[in-house]
């Protein structure tokens, strides 16, 4: 078959059409919708509004509040997941007796559906009947408002996120740790480098590429958080624990305001893209240095 053989079209076009229909068309449709005033309830004829939905969103204090809440949850949760996950991965990499049991035990939370995790958390955090209340009551702090006061509620959501997704970080970092060459550590040991020095001089720099990837994945996933918040607080009190995706859900499935929701989805995409680009730009010099 030569480069100009027309048979190539038979192979290329179906694939291209499938990609267009499955992947690109929904995005284009959604983008088009974001420039329209389109409501299903009550049914109002679609109207082109240009950037009207975007401007309205950017002028809506709720959008900024929700973006800030999502960022707080995402950054704090991912930072904690990384620190705790790295520590546990290091411990598991030390090949302690019963390591296999620990490994399975630590990975279990990740395998549970987020909705189920949130339901369990809601029961544990119940201020009158939950086991945490009983424990806190022993220390003289009964009936703490875990899910009904803003700071406590955000803390509770972050805790659940950390509990559920730290295993993912452990899994990835452990895989990375097991690929590190032993000879570098043997050389460091000959130079009398302490474990602390070995960590900062060898382990951390060599794990940087995979760390960047893991944190990046978790950050994007955390920005999409909805199920945990929906079950635990419903976004309340007020809108204090509402996240971007929950906001989009409320607009889309309660108000059926499709144009506005599409604009919100694209703004969300822009926010995530900017965060990703800034994150990679900041880390690029370090990655280059340790290549």
């Amino acid at each position: 078959m030569t480069r100009n053989d027309p048979i190539k079209h038979v192979f290329i076009w179906p694939a291209l059409l499938i990609v267009l229909v499955i992947s690109i068309f929904p995005l284009i449709y959604s983008l088009t919708t974001s420039f329209m005033s389109l409501r299903l309830v009550p049914p109002i004829p679609p109207r082109f509004v240009g950037f009207g939905n975007y401007i309205e969103l950017l002028q809506n204090p709720r959008f900024w509040h929700v973006a800030r809440t999502t960022s707080i949850i995402a950054f704090i949760a991912v930072a904690l997941q990384y620190i705790i996950g790295f520590a546990i991965a290091l411990a598991l990499n030390a090949r302690v007796p019963g390591e296999g049991i620990f490994r399975v035990g630590f990975l279990l939370p990740m395998l549970v559906a987020p909705v189920a995790v949130a339901l369990i958390a809601r029961q544990i955090l119940n201020p009158t009947m939950g086991p945490l209340n009983e424990l806190m009551a022993l220390f003289g702090f009964p009936n703490l408002p875990f899910l009904t006061q803003t700071k406590w509620a955000i803390g509770a959501i972050i805790s659940v996120e950390v509990w559920q997704w730290t295993p993912f970080v452990i899994l990835m970092l452990l895989a990375g740790l097991q690929t590190l060459p032993d000879d570098v550590y043997e050389a460091a040991a000959l130079e009398n480098a302490s474990p602390w020095q070995q960590f900062w001089g060898i382990t951390f720099p060599m794990m940087l590429p995979i760390s960047v990837a893991v944190v990046f994945i978790r950050l994007i996933e955390s920005y999409k958080i909805i199920d945990t918040v929906f079950v635990m607080t419903g976004g309340g009190p007020g809108i204090s624990t509402e996240t971007l995706t929950l906001f989009a859900y409320q607009e889309g499935f309660k108000k059926f305001n499709l144009g506005y929701t599409s604009a919100l989805s694209f703004l969300f995409l822009i926010v995530i893209t900017i965060i990703g680009l800034v994150y990679l730009a900041i880390l690029k010099p370090y990655l280059e240095k340790h290549k």
Binding site: L40, P42, P43, T128, L147, T150, P237, K254, K255
Partner: protein
């Protein structure tokens, strides 16, 4: 002769078999397949399915119940109706959506609008919730009214009665007014004993606003100004920040302080759990609370579940004079929260006769009576016979519990000043605004007046966005007022 005998026997058998067939199919809908849609079960969908089995046996027709998640049900129905497709023969929907559907629904056959079964439907459904601009376009298949539930053992404890009278100066009894409701809640607030005053839904997205509406109805549903509770029925200006609503919100917030510590996170499910778990002395909500609390398998307080109508008030805000009107008696304004699922037949259906016959069977006193006492159907009483047949309910309640429960249901739906829920195009856009502001007020982030001023401003903006005249017409129709 033998041929004659064989022939006559065969004829007789044939005649018998056709007679049996005619008896089995009454009316005969052999070959007719209906498509009925509603939300994903078990609630309501299981009632449709249970009735489908009986209707199929009776008529030889067939019913396919098509279920959609709550979030997809409205768009699915509205798209089908507006496009004129013959997709569904029966739709079971939330009453709040009625304004968007009524143009596309067939009228209930006149034969169904008379007789004992028709008269048996509680008037508020028959005359208001099933009617749109003078036409009966749907059939209620579930009753939804808020009532009051209390602990008989706590209320009838002589020590409690004595202490209550000493403290408040009147007898401890089921609350007649919202002030009494709060007094009782305050009296029973005993966290050290694991008992709190009341339990209501306060969680955003957890049916919260209907509980607030129940409080506010007592102060805003003026008997002389029908349909003025939510909006001015002449101008469509929001009324939600008038002093009656503010008082309702103040008391709703006060209730949240007299409830278990996590009550701000209570949906209706948690209200039921708290009451059935013996945590609350009194509570308001739908009929499910009484049913769950009376069930010894689910409840610690079974045998002690008392019921009554919602408390009322002898002062009601007059939106015309902008003054409080005093009454010489307590005006009861039980609130039709949500309003009960409706079943209707789209005008585009080609099997309207069979579809209405299925609805008639589904909502018949016998079939609906069974559904009302079957857990998981989500069907609450809406017929008078549902509330008078004590034997039916004796499976669930003790004699006294049944009598009070059914009495409360009946008195509520037949009350003179019953308060209708709002039914407007974009209903959940209005309630979403309200939920956010309510939630802020409950958390102490805004005062009741600030919260409701904000709601009123946003509601008016939304009304303008949707078209004030269109919304006004829908609001008046939903409240049973003639068009201007």
């Amino acid at each position: 002769m033998r041929k004659f005998l064989i022939g006559s026997t065969a004829m007789a058998l044939l005649a018998m078999s056709s007679a049996t067939s005619a008896l089995a199919c009454d009316p005969d809908y052999t070959g007719v397949t209906l498509s009925a849609t509603t939300q994903t079960g078990p609630y309501i969908a299981s009632a449709l399915q249970l009735a489908a089995k009986g209707w199929e046996q009776k008529t030889c027709g067939k019913v396919n119940v098509v279920e959609f998640p709550w979030s997809e049900l409205y768009p699915k129905i509205v798209t089908t109706l507006t496009s004129g497709e013959d997709t569904f023969d029966v739709i079971a929907f939330a009453p709040a959506w009625a304004p968007d559907f009524t143009d596309y629904l067939s009228e209930m056959p006149k034969a169904m609008q008379s007789g004992p079964d028709w008269e048996d439907i509680a008037p508020v459904y028959r005359e208001s919730l099933m009617v749109w601009n003078g036409k009966v376009l749907s059939q209620t298949m579930d009753g939804d009214v808020h009532t009051y539930t209390y602990r008989i053992d706590l209320f009838e404890n002589p020590d409690n009665q004595k202490a209550f009278k000493e403290k408040y100066g009147y007898d401890l009894a089921p609350a007649k007014t919202w002030k009494q409701y709060l007094d009782i809640a305050e009296f029973f607030q005993q966290p050290d004993k694991g008992i709190w005053g009341t339990a209501e839904a306060f969680r955003r997205g957890g049916q919260q606003f209907w509980f607030f509406f129940s409080h506010a109805a007592g102060y805003t549903n003026h008997p002389d100004h029908k349909g003025s509770m939510f909006f001015d029925p002449d101008t469509m200006d929001a009324q939600i920040n008038n002093p009656g609503w503010v008082r309702g919100l103040e008391e709703y917030i006060r209730s949240s302080k007299l409830a278990p510590p996590n009550a701000l996170n209570f949906s209706f499910g948690e209200v039921n759990a708290a009451f059935a778990g013996g945590q609350a002395a009194e509570s308001i909500g739908w009929g499910d609370t009484g049913v769950i609390a009376a069930d010894p398998k689910q409840s610690k307080v079974s045998g002690n579940v008392g019921s009554a109508m919602l408390p009322g008030s002898d002062e009601i805000w007059n939106y015309k004079t902008k003054k409080w009107d005093k009454f010489d008696h307590v005006v009861e304004s039980p609130f039709m929260a949500f309003g009960g699922w409706q079943a209707a037949v789209p005008a585009s259906s080609t099997k309207q006769e069979a579809a209405w016959d299925y609805i008639k069977y589904l909502t018949s006193p016998e079939v609906s009576g069974q559904a009302a006492i079957t857990g998981g159907t989500g069907v609450n009483p809406y017929r008078i016979s549902h509330t008078t047949n004590l034997d039916l309910w004796s499976k669930l309640f003790s004699q006294r519990e049944a009598k009070e429960y059914l009495g409360a249901q009946k008195d509520s739906v037949t009350a003179k000043n019953v308060a209708l829920d709002m039914r407007l195009p974009g209903y959940f856009s209005y309630t979403e605004i309200l939920e956010i502001e309510l939630s802020k007020a409950l958390a102490g982030e805004s005062t009741p007046q600030q919260a409701l001023d904000s709601v009123a401003e946003q509601w008016n903006k939304l009304t303008d966005e949707f078209g004030r005249d269109k919304q006004l017409a829908a609001y008046r129709a939903s409240m049973g007022l003639p068009q201007k």
